[in-house]
Symmetry: C2
Subunit: 460 residues, 2 copies
């Protein structure tokens, strides 16, 4: 390992220059005009993997954008790790807010700026360079068997990832999965993400008169759908911020004291966290800390309201309809189906007389909790900490939902290590996306340590 780590130190600058070349390709999956760039981008990555001497390196076509697969079958009898990443990037607008052009990467103050530098090209490149360090700086081969699947549609919903996983089931078979597309808890804090919230998304539609009617002629005499909607939505929480839907919390796993202690031990600062949103105060369900609320507690948020007159000035109507977009973030072991049923039943109970109420389920996703009692999590913790100078690796969660993690976890049935090297403030989906180059460097070492530590495990 000393040779491997020394190689990583020695080639630090070149690794960044190589990443810069890849970032120059504008692989925006959301924009059809960039379809040729998507293919060029995949081929660039595939060529780099082939140049490393991969046993197999190929562009996998899908019904959408291509994915890239590579395998290094160097260690018979040793565990096989499947690394997931994506080579597509977010759109760049508003372009005017970028300090330097998004596809002309620039280094300033130890940061590399450019679209995709952290989400996710930099994190994919970390694995390529860790592999290179073993092959050129270490003993010429990897201590484990490595597979990479780098999709091209993560930023547009991973629509065809499930197909890829099914069609290439044999190819993608592995003992463990490593996803490098998330963030660390903060700068210099090695972090494994072990939980993701699920999602259940609804529309609530309330209808009253057959068209908008005059609020003078009818006001006071018929039910107002907008007032009715407000009444329904307001009654979905009590004064302490708990969701009032009967049964909503029945399947929620109560945090254990060790889990609560681990969360409490994290260097979280409400003020700094609030500053990222511009919100005025950290408020939420009584009895829980902010991190517990956003990671481990289910929510019910109104994402949109639409009713009646929305223009300038006054229009005196009783609107014909009022509707709300509502998202519930779910935690283990809630399921979108059950929560959808409970919410719909409760909304119908809350419907006041004189209006018609409908609940439409749009989509949902299961929450995810890693099987952290599996020994591979301790192995990953150790590897990560070694790269970061002995700093303890923390288990964190994400309040959001990352559907492809479920897709991969379900498709492989294997423990999934969410070992991310980003930072929460790196503007992943905004102008001036940046990558902390120290994290990039230590990320390469972390990946190398992970491979090394996994090699010491008994093959499952």
């Amino acid at each position: 390992m000393q040779d491997v780590l020394g190689y990583i130190d020695a080639h630090r600058e070149r690794f960044v220059r190589e990443l810069v070349e890849w970032v120059k390709i504008p692989s925006i999956s959301a924009l059809p005009a960039h379809a040729p760039d998507m293919l060029r981008n995949a081929e660039h990555l595939c060529a780099a993997l082939a140049a490393l001497g991969a046993d197999r390196a190929e562009v996998l076509t899908t019904r959408g954008h291509p994915a890239v697969f590579a395998s290094f079958d160097h260690a018979p009898g040793k565990p096989t790790l499947l690394v997931y990443g994506h080579h597509d990037v977010q759109p760049i607008d508003p372009l005017g807010e970028w300090v330097s052009p998004p596809f002309e990467p620039a280094v300033r103050d130890g940061r590399l700026y450019g679209r995709g530098v952290v989400d996710d090209k930099g994190q994919v490149w970390i694995h390529l360079k860790a592999i290179e360090a073993f092959l050129r700086g270490g003993g010429g081969k990897l201590p484990i068997n490595l597979k990479l699947i780098v999709e091209g549609e993560e930023e547009v919903g991973s629509e065809h990832l499930g197909d890829v996983m099914r069609e290439h089931e044999e190819l993608l078979r592995a003992d463990y999965v490593c996803v490098s597309d998330t963030a660390m808890f903060g700068r210099g804090i090695p972090s494994l993400c072990v939980g993701l919230r699920g999602l259940a998304y609804f529309e609530v539609h309330v209808s009253g008169p057959s068209g908008d009617v005059h609020s003078g002629s009818f006001g006071g005499g018929i039910a107002n759908p907008a007032n009715a909607l407000a009444r329904i939505l307001a009654r979905l929480h009590d004064d302490d911020g708990h969701v009032t839907i009967p049964g909503f919390y029945d399947r929620v796993r109560v945090l254990t004291q060790p889990e609560k202690d681990e969360i409490a031990s994290l260097p979280h600062d409400d003020a700094a966290w609030l500053a990222m949103s511009g919100a005025r105060a950290a408020v939420g369900e009584a009895g829980f800390s902010t991190l517990e609320r956003i990671w481990c507690r289910p929510t019910l948020d109104v994402c949109g309201l639409t009713s009646g007159f929305q223009g300038e000035g006054a229009k005196t109507i009783i609107p014909a309809t009022a509707s709300a977009k509502v998202s519930c973030r779910l935690v283990p072991d809630q399921t979108p189906d059950e929560i959808g049923r409970l919410l719909a039943e409760h909304v119908m109970r809350l419907a006041p007389p004189g209006v018609k109420v409908e609940v439409v389920t749009l989509h949902g996703g299961m929450p995810y909790l890693a099987p952290t009692s599996h020994p591979v999590f301790e192995v990953a913790r150790r590897a990560f900490s070694k790269a970061f100078g002995g700093k303890p690796t923390v288990f964190i969660r994400e309040g959001g939902s990352i559907p492809f993690v479920r897709t991969i976890a379900d498709a492989t049935g294997k423990p999934c290590l969410l070992m991310g090297f980003g930072q929460p403030d790196e503007n992943a989906h905004a102008p001036n996306e940046w990558l902390d180059l120290e994290n990039f460097h230590l990320g390469i070492k972390s990946a190398a340590h992970l491979y090394d530590e996994l090699a010491k495990m008994v093959t499952p």
Copy 2:
């Protein structure tokens, strides 16, 4: 009077043909392209008044569309009646829904179809033809002094009516005012409108994060402006439909038993009334009938809701802002200023922690209640009933607000007779506006009886 009434019977068909000619002029005040039509329309009316032998007949220019003034000074020592009407009409879209073209009036089943036939050209023409009946069918002169002011901006808010009233204060001086621009309670029921609700219109703005933020990253940890808005709006009513704003009802005049009895005696049918709106049920403040609710009780209706994501599908955000348009209909002796203050104070009290709440007052209008103890109301009742075969004239109210009534009532300081000949279902602001030709005929007789009865009063 027999000669006058006989003349009205004898010329019934011609009166309709004349009205048709006027309705052909597309006097849409809302559309700048029709400005020349507005002038032509005013001149058409002015010429008709001059042809009747008015002592004065002129087009009054304003900073907007022109008004028409005429006076008949036939009866020294007798009361002077000022008749108000308007010569502008509503726009015609959606044009495709008209059975016959809006400006090619057509008679079908005893109804005249066309834009403006009832609102308000037909009702203005009623007075012209009543005048004609006295001058050509009766003794050659009117039994009272008559003035007409017919404005051209009623459908666009009567913006310059106040100016006209001020500039021509001397000209418009009268003992009584008759406004013929409202509807009867139902077919064949002579009705005087004696009350109008006022209006106070607000926007409630709730803001949270500085921009829309991810409902996964922040959901549960910060206040959601849309949920907060729903909570505020929901708490503005109790379960019985009463408005909860402290002091809201303090100045509301309690209906007297005779007033309640008069309202209860009207042939109101909830089912037929509901059918006009397409609403499912007559619901509202506990303890009041539908007519009491829409005529005599104040309301608080949400007219519009806007927040966050309103497109197709799902977007998982906590919106930065949420806002509502809110209208309160007011009844005597509530005032928009006081209600605005009370509402704003209460909304601020209801604001949950973590969001910023603002209340913006858009505009307001005073409620109106006619001084029905004045003897002129009994005179008008009698005149109206005579024309309608002895049917008793009912006192009704309107749930809506008609600002020009307050403008005229305040400017003249005289009792204002809202003697309308429309019907509630005549599509006044919709496609296929129609006028019941029997009402038109009896309306002319009602106006004639009104002039005759007023002549018997002592000049105030």
